[in-house]
């Protein structure tokens, strides 16, 4: 009985041991299953990481290539910048040279412009002198010479107030021969040496009033601008007296002085020619 009990106890113990073992095996199995599951998850994670690393490696490679290409481009651009800087310096030097040349051309152009204006003015002045001379000698009519003198004074000199005196050699007196716009106070005769007009005629020298000096208040000399003795063969034959200039005319200019010189001889000659022509005509008429 004792043996039977011993066997039964042994079997029970074996059964219990087997049961515990089975339970342990099951527990171990479960643990291992869970471990496998965990490892599978880990494997997937690692696979993902490996893929990511692969991508990163690729990206890194691409970046490396890009960096290399950028480095090359940077070097190229640096070289280009150096070349451009050299170009800029060359262009700046060239620009400075051209600017200096341009300044020179501008200066020259301004000089030429001024010279051109000067020559044009001289041309204009010469044209005036030519016109005056041509007109004075283009006729043998005394009236036309007197008209021409008036027109020269009005159109070329710029005065509408003038008088022409002729010398009476016997009386040593200037006699009024014609006047226009000169006003009623124009003297009809002026003894040589009397007043500004008489003195200019006696000396045979052109008188031009000084614009800064006080004007003469003597009879027939108010508003006097100039007195031009008519001189023929060294002798005074009369005088052209110019009174007030036109309002827009600022004063006597260089060309006016040249016209005065021209009138002094050419008007005298023209008037003398008309006188000779008249006398010749009269003689021819008397001879018929």
């Amino acid at each position: 009985m004792k043996d039977r009990n011993d066997v039964g106890g042994y079997v029970r113990r074996v059964q219990e041991g087997t049961q515990r073992y089975a339970q342990d095996v099951l527990a171990e199995n479960e643990r291992l299953r869970m471990l496998v599951t965990a490892l599978e998850g880990e494997k997937l994670l690692l696979a993902d990481k490996a893929r990511l690393v692969g991508e990163l490696v690729q990206a890194n490679e691409a970046l490396r290539t890009l960096a290399a290409s950028l480095e090359t481009e940077t070097r190229r651009l640096q070289d280009h910048a150096v070349a451009l800087r050299a170009d800029r310096e060359r262009f700046e030097t060239e620009l400075a040279r051209l600017q200096s040349q341009l300044d020179g051309v501008k200066d020259e152009s301004e000089r030429y412009s001024a010279r051109y204006a000067e020559v044009e003015q001289q041309n204009s002045n010469l044209a005036n002198l030519y016109v005056a001379s041509y007109r004075l000698h283009g006729t043998l009519s005394r009236k036309e010479v007197l008209d021409t003198i008036q027109e020269i004074v009005a159109n070329l000199i710029g005065s509408e107030e003038a008088a022409l005196f002729e010398l009476d050699p016997a009386a040593h007196t200037l006699k009024l021969a014609a006047s226009f716009g000169a006003g009623p106070d124009t003297r009809r005769s002026i003894p040589l040496g009397d007043g500004l007009i008489g003195r200019a005629a006696a000396a045979g020298e052109i008188y031009v009033a000084d614009p800064d000096a006080a004007p003469s208040e003597a009879e027939g000399e108010r508003n006097l601008t100039a007195c031009i003795p008519l001189v023929l063969d060294g002798r005074v034959s009369g005088a052209i007296v110019i009174y007030r200039l036109l309002p827009q005319k600022a004063g006597v200019e260089d060309v006016d002085r040249e016209l005065f010189d021209l009138l002094a001889t050419h008007a005298a000659t023209a008037l003398y020619c008309t006188k000779l022509h008249q006398e010749l005509g009269a003689r021819v008429g008397a001879g018929r």
Binding site: E120, S124, R135, A154, N155, L156, I157, G158, P247, Q248
Partner: protein, 123 residues
């Protein structure tokens, strides 16, 4: 290129000679008239590109001729430069009232005249 035609009107032979001498230095054909009435006739017949006209003239003054020319279809836009002896504002105003385009005062300055002619002929 054909020369531009300029009608110069002045009763003074000296002024006329001077102006034509100046203008003939330029590329201009100059025709002339010696009073306002004749200026109107010549302008209508010749159709100049510009008229340069003195103010004080017999038969018809520059102002009157200017007014007359402005009423004619053929010459109502032709530039007219009046040559005035007096440069006072009143005189200038009368000129512009009569229809002139511009004016120059005596004594005529050749450069100024040519500049004005160039301006108005080019316009």
């Amino acid at each position: 290129m054909s020369k531009k035609k300029i009608l110069v009107v002045d009763d003074s032979k000296t002024a006329m000679f001077m102006v034509t001498t100046i203008l003939r230095k330029g590329p201009y054909q100059v025709i002339t008239a010696d009073d306002g009435q004749r200026a109107v006739e010549v302008a209508l017949a010749e159709r100049p590109d510009l008229i340069l006209m003195d103010v004080i003239m017999p038969r018809m003054t520059g102002f009157e001729a200017c007014r007359e020319l402005r009423q004619r279809e053929e010459t109502k836009t032709t530039p007219i430069i009046l040559v005035t002896t007096r440069g006072e504002a009143e005189n200038i105003e009368t000129g512009f009232d009569s229809g002139c385009t511009d004016y120059v005062t005596k004594p005529i300055n050749g450069q100024e005249l040519l500049a004005k002619v160039r301006d108005h002929i080019a316009a």
